[in-house]
Each structure stands twice: as structure tokens, then as C-alpha cells.
Chain length 264, copies 2
């Protein structure tokens, strides 16, 4: 094992330990009748004790095992590191789904450098599924066991299954761009939060289009999808890791067709 391989193996092990810590905290509150959801904004945006508790537990693992790395998370202040590596974490992506008892929220963990994510995990604690990968191999574990992940080979919109979380997607203009693609797709489904990216990496879904993302919403999906052979960019075709509007596709050909329709 080279030095680089050994370092990646250690970083990967830390990422899984962070995911394990979040699993305990998120499951401790999931579907509990006494779960309270404070509102962060005017719209209903629940921040639960589970979000806060899980991010705290994730940061404790990082503080113990990677004290010199940076941390960018949803709930607490940014930590600047000295290694050039940053852990980009979201304790519960899909808090609305979480408070409604749906099983498609996830814990997101990415290890990123200045160029973007290197390794990522999308974890679904309730189902017991973990989708992970980077930089060039992706795997999943879950109820049916462990297996490598590979995106599908879909190259046309007419064959494509498209997912997003909210039908309105974002602004009216963003929604219209999305629906230009949806009108051509074989099937459009809603409501899955980060789980849609995991399904794309695992070869079940062909396109995910979203807007209004934060960086911590998209780093882990980028890592996992790229490692499984897929493409993720923003709606201009550039890097998506700053958040905002994301287009994930199973193949470059499909990505190009969707990008052209979005911008038509």
C-alpha cells in the first residue's frame, strides 16, 4: 500500500466513523412522537434536536481523529483547517422528510479539497443503507448486502427517469427549466431529497435536477456519483460544489441534453 493509499484508507475510515456517529443520533429521534421542530425561517424549515445532536456527534469524531482538517456543516460555525482538507457535512439532508417519518432523508459526509469533493457518503440510517465512494470506486451496503455501484448507460431523455425534491424546484424560472426536461423524460418523481442522488449513483435513476442547494447538500452526492461514473455540474455546466443549482446525470450524453434544455 502506498502512502497515498494508506492516507485515503484512513480518511475513508474516519468518514464511516462520522456516519456511524450520525446514525446513532438521528435514529434516536426519528419517528419519536415528542420530536419538536423549531422553524429556522418563515417557511417551514424544521431544525430538530436530531440535526443539532447529530452534527455535534459528527464534529466530535472529527475533532478526535482529524483535528487539523476544516469543517463546513449546516448547524454550526465553519472550522478552518490547516491541511487543505475540509469535511463538508449535513447531519440530516431532508429534514422535512425526516419530521414526516419518510425514509428518504440522509446523512451527508464529504471530504473535499479546494477543487471539490474527493470522497463522499450518503447514509440512510433507518433503512440501514450506505452509499459511498471516491475518487474512482463506489459501493453501497444495505438490506440486500454490499455491492459496487455504477450509473446506468441511459443516453436519451425519452429513456430517462428524473427526480427532484419539490415540484416547484426553486424560482418560477428554475421550475420552468426543470419542467422542460420533465416534459421529455420517461418518468418524473418527487420527494426524495438526497436519496435521489444515491439512486442515480446506484444505477436506478438517470437525472436529478435541483436548485437552491447549499454546499453541504451537494458535496457528498458529487463524490458518490462521480465515483460511480456519473456527471454532476451546476446549470451552467461548471463545478457544482458551491451549491445553488445542480444537474446530475448518468452519462455525459444525457447531461448535455438536459443542460441544453435547461438553458433553452
Amino acid at each position: 500500500m502506498t502512502h497515498e493509499d494508506a492516507e485515503l484508507a484512513e480518511l475513508t475510515a474516519v468518514a464511516h466513523a462520522v456516519a456511524d456517529a450520525a446514525r446513532v443520533e438521528t435514529l434516536a429521534h426519528f419517528r419519536r412522537p415528542d420530536l419538536t421542530a423549531d422553524s429556522k425561517t418563515e417557511d417551514f424549515d424544521p431544525v430538530t434536536v436530531a440535526d443539532k445532536g447529530a452534527e455535534r456527534a459528527m464534529r466530535e469524531v472529527l475533532a478526535a481523529r482529524r483535528p487539523d482538517d476544516g469543517i463546513l456543516g449546516e448547524e454550526e460555525a465553519r472550522v478552518d483547517g490547516s491541511t487543505g482538507l475540509t469535511w463538508v457535512i449535513d447531519p440530516i439532508d431532508g429534514t422535512r422528510g425526516y419530521v414526516a417519518g419518510a425514509p428518504t432523508w440522509g446523512v451527508l459526509i464529504a471530504l473535499s479539497n479546494a477543487d471539490g469533493p474527493i470522497f463522499g457518503i450518503v447514509d440512510q440510517p433507518y433503512i440501514g443503507e450506505r452509499f459511498y465512494g471516491g475518487p474512482d470506486r463506489a459501493y453501497m451496503t444495505g438490506p440486500l448486502g454490499e455491492r459496487p455501484m455504477r450509473v446506468r448507460s441511459t443516453r436519451t431523455l425519452e429513456e430517462a427517469i428524473l427526480f427532484t425534491t419539490f415540484p416547484e424546484v426553486g424560482t418560477p424560472e428554475e421550475g420552468a427549466a426543470f419542467h422542460r426536461v420533465a416534459a421529455k423524460a420517461k418518468l418524473t418523481r418527487y420527494g426524495t431529497d438526497c436519496y435521489a442522488y444515491a439512486l442515480l449513483a446506484a444505477g436506478h435513476v438517470d437525472l436529478v435536477i435541483e436548485a437552491g442547494l447549499a454546499p453541504y447538500d451537494i458535496h457528498a452526492p458529487i463524490a458518490v456519483i462521480q465515483a460511480a461514473g456519473g456527471v454532476v455540474t451546476n446549470w451552467e455546466g461548471g463545478p457544482a460544489h458551491d451549491g445553488g443549482r445542480a444537474l446530475a446525470a448518468a452519462t455525459p450524453e444525457l447531461h448535455r441534453l438536459a443542460l441544453d434544455l435547461i438553458n433553452s
Copy 2:
């Protein structure tokens, strides 16, 4: 144990055996890359080998253990029985979600008489969750163990979490009726198929509103929700077991508010 209790226990055991048989067949094909989906109609309505295989397996259990009961299923012809009891079954409710790899499709099994469903099961084989109940007690088993189910006590739309499968719901008029309720609800989510009814019975969701249902789509949800203390009717406030348009609510008060808005 009275004779009636013993008969209900036997019928319940048969229902679980039917669900077990469907679990094997549906999981044998779920997320398999070679899954093919024929189109039943002009729109994309996949009928997979899993649907057909699961219904066949379910009917074999019924033929062996309840040969004199009727069967109404999605894939095969109706069987008229002589007992006054009919098994109303849907091997995969949410085939579109199934072919996309989502974990919110379900196997639906209801035991019904002329007045409607008596006992029902909503099973999610991949997660390993089973929601079941009737006539007056409801339970669920899953990753977090077994527990009784009880609907929430939500009495206002402003506190209500609302689910449906497709944002368009049904016809434009049906969609408009739905969105009058959605505009008042605390949170609206999409894409869950029968899983939304299970979440309502389990006390996580307050309203489910759908249109265009077949009888086999709604018998099992009616049984489970009523057993957990909730209310299910059609959009006129009458019995919903003939299919069509369904309104499920956690409380009679919430049901009345939603029904009034639908018909306003």
C-alpha cells in the same frame, strides 16, 4: 378465545403469509439491472415481472389456505368466493417508484366483506417494514422493532403534514382541489405511493389526498388507518373502498376541514 377471535386470528395469519410470499417475489427483482417494464397504457405504467410473479405467489397462498374466499387483484382476473370474504391485493402499489429503486412502494393486502375492509397490511419488503391492523388495533414492525400504531391528534390544517403521490393528483379540477388544501397545510410532500397511508396510520403524517385509485389501491390503507384511529372517505365523505378519490385524515376534525376545502 371465542370462535370469532379464532377465525380472525387465522385470517390474520393468512394475510401475513400472503405478505411473506409477496416479499420474496418483489425483492427477487427489486433494483435488478435486468428488470424490464412493459407498458400497460400510453403513459408510462410499468408492469414488471415482479408484479405478476408476486400476485401469482399471493394467490397460491390463498388458494391453499382460503379456497372459498374471493380474490380481487391488480394483475389477474377476479375470483368470486362463497364465504362473503374477498382478498383485495395489489402486489406492488407504486410500480413507478419500484422501477426507480425508491423504497416507498408497497404490497397491499386487505380482507374485505361487502361493507369494506376488515383487516389490512401495507408491507414494504426492502425496508422490512409491515404496517397492519384491523378491525380495531394496528401495529407496525420494522428496523426499530414492533409497536402499536396510533394516528396523531392534529385538528387544524395549519399543523397538518399532507402527502400525495403526484403533484398533478388527477384531473385539473382534482389537482385544484388538492392544492386548496396544500396551500393551508404546514407541509406538503410528494412521491410516496401507499407508504403515505402507512405513515398516517403510524402517526407521522396527518392527511393523504389522492385521485384515480383502484379498489385494490385503497382497501388495505383503509383497514390500517381506521384500525389506528383515523378516517378515510372518498371526496364526497362516503365510503372510499370503491376507489376513485380518497381523503385520509388523522382526526374527524381535520377530515372535515379538508373535505370542506376540497369541495369549496
